[in-house]
Amino acid sequence: MKIGGRGPPFPDADLIRTLAALLAETGLSEIEYAVGDRRIRVARVPGGPNPGTVAESPAPARAAAVEHPGALKAPMVGTAYLAPQPGHPPFVRLGDSVAEGQPLLIIEAMKVMNHIRAPRPGRVTQILVADAQPVEYGAVLMLIE
């Protein structure tokens, strides 16, 4: 997806967090990301602090995530919300264990709030979407392992 439309003010802390998590996951040293006239670059020097898991393989994260058996994909186009209300705590956090059917996030489409639920029990090992961000069909939202 390349979306350059209205979004939260830039720079977006959640986006940076997502990119930081991707850096860790993939073992990359740098990610540069541009949307329209917005551009963000995150980097981590080799040997620096790495709060995430050490990547087993340096393959592209998104592509890997799409193939991942635990990938939770967006069933529709819309805007993702990680919390039930603005200002409330999120439905789930990284590392949480979730039960089948537990709400994980909301996708708003056509003014309707669609609750996206866990298809099976597991642990949230990646959150690949930021709050209040647009998502397209098939985008990987989280990994539940």
Binding site: I3, G5, R6, G36, V77, M110, G138
Partner: protein, 447 residues
């Protein structure tokens, strides 16, 4: 003018709309199915959103997904392209209800012309001739003969409950009508369980001629002349040209004036086409397309008017910047529809394009979303390129067409280029001597 337009389509027409937007400084949003993630319109658009899986009903026909994509990208208008949702009145209405501009006609006009019976009634009311027929069923020979005299021979006897051509009989004069009426009634009874028949004028070798129109929605109408689209196979147009090689000036003026007056009366907005059958100097309205058409480029080539730009301008409320008298139709233009199909069997040929080299030079235009390495998906229609050539005369245009077809390279898949090459040297085509049945016969001849 709009800031950002969402293009609710795919393939060459999505690229066509993108180009018009780009040339007006309008940002574009491409929506696409997962099968089209690498499509040209997606690559060139400012933004893109995947809206669903390959089947069109879940992506390109998915109204909720398209409107959500428009919302999340902040688009202010939606261009439906052609096919898919372009003639869906409910879609047009929903788009407007959600606060976006619909780049096309009003939902009412789409709905009116979408109903064939209502469209014909509207045409008659607006003074446009339709194929003459009996007002209803003809009960007996006396009624049939009176009706046939009014309609004019030859007449077609059709079952009221019929369809698919079954039970139809052609009567060329009164004795034939007397002989065939009971036969037709009997066949109607045995095929459809009802012996009721009606009469219609029989056109045995009509041409398909259509008028390209633009309306500003305020009664202002511009026409861009006619297109001859008689070269059809299985009701699919294969090659179109403008002007029609057999129409004379008086016929052209009469038809375009009639069409323009009718749409002015309707207060029609955006691009639209009135389609007619033409035979022996008479025109008969068949339907109206309330959208951009595949063959619109040939009208652009002879008029110099960018039809998609006009659609965008009209949707944004801008008035015409010119009058009918400013429109000069110059030269001749031909469009070849190049499909990913076997040129002999017409079997679809999706797959990877391994070589791609379009023709260039003076008077040659290619509207195509193909590129070297592109994978033609198997889910959508087979049109992959439109080769449009323009020349000062029909002969120059034909010579240029042959030259351009010779240069065009599309490798890896079958295309209809070889068929167009055969067509471009066929005597009847060169002479303009064809009707809507001719191509079916031509393609069945051994190459």
């Amino acid at each position: 003018m709009f800031d950002k337009v969402l293009i609710a389509n795919r393939g060459e027409i999505a690229l066509r709309v993108h180009r018009a937007c780009r040339e007006m400084g309008i940002k574009t949003v491409a929506v696409h199915s997962t099968a089209d993630a690498n499509a040209m319109h997606v690559r060139l658009a400012d933004e893109s959103v995947c809206i669903g899986p390959p089947p069109a009903r879940d992506s390109y026909l998915n109204v909720a997904a398209i409107l959500s994509a428009a919302a999340i990208t902040g688009a202010d208008a939606i261009h439906p392209g052609l096919g898919f949702l372009a003639e869906n009145a409910d879609f047009a209405a929903t788009v407007e209800e959600h606060g976006f501009s619909f780049i096309g006609p009003s939902p009412e006009h789409i709905r009116l012309m979408g109903n064939k019976v209502a469209a014909k009634e509207a045409a008659r009311r607006l003074g446009i001739p339709t194929v003459p027929g009996s007002p209803g069923a003809v009960r007996d020979l006396a009624a049939a003969e009176a009706s046939a005299r009014a309609i004019g021979y030859p007449v077609l006897i059709k079952a009221s409950a019929g369809g698919g051509g079954r039970g139809m009989k052609v009567a060329r004069n009164a004795p034939e009508l007397a002989r065939l009426l009971p036969v037709a009634q009997n066949e109607a009874t045995s095929f459809f369980g009802c012996g009721e028949v009606y009469l219609e004028r029989h056109l045995d070798r009509p041409r398909h001629i259509e008028i390209q129109l633009l309306g500003d929605g305020l009664g202002g109408i511009i026409h861009l002349g006619e297109r001859d689209c008689s070269l059809q196979r299985s009701h699919q147009k294969l090659l179109e040209e403008t002007p029609c090689p057999v129409l004379n000036c008086a016929e052209r003026e009469r038809l375009t004036a009639l069409a323009a007056a009718a749409l002015a009366e309707l207060g029609y907005r955006s691009a639209g086409t009135l389609e007619f059958l033409y035979q022996d100097g008479e025109f008969f309205f068949i339907e109206m397309n309330t959208r951009l058409q595949v063959e619109h480029p040939i009208s652009e080539m002879v008029s110099g008017i960018d039809i998609v730009r006009e659609q965008l301008r009209i949707a944004a409320g801008a008035p015409f910047g010119y009058r009918q008298s400013d429109v000069n139709l110059c030269g001749h233009a031909i469009e070849c529809r190049i499909n990913a199909e076997n040129p002999d069997t017409f079997l679809p040929s999706p797959g990877r394009v391994t070589d791609y080299h379009p023709p260039g030079g003076l008077g040659v235009r290619v509207d195509s979303a193909l590129y070297d390495g592109y994978e033609v998906p198997p889910y959508y229609d087979s049109l992959i390129s439109k080769l449009i050539v323009h020349g000062k005369s029909r002969n120059e245009c034909l010579m240029r067409l042959r030259r351009a077809l010779e240069e065009y390279v599309i490798g890896g898949i079958d295309t209809t280029i070889p068929l167009h090459q055969r067509l471009a040297v066929a005597t009847e085509f060169i002479d303009g001597d064809y009707d809507i049945h001719w191509l079916e016969d031509f393609v069945s001849r051994p190459p």
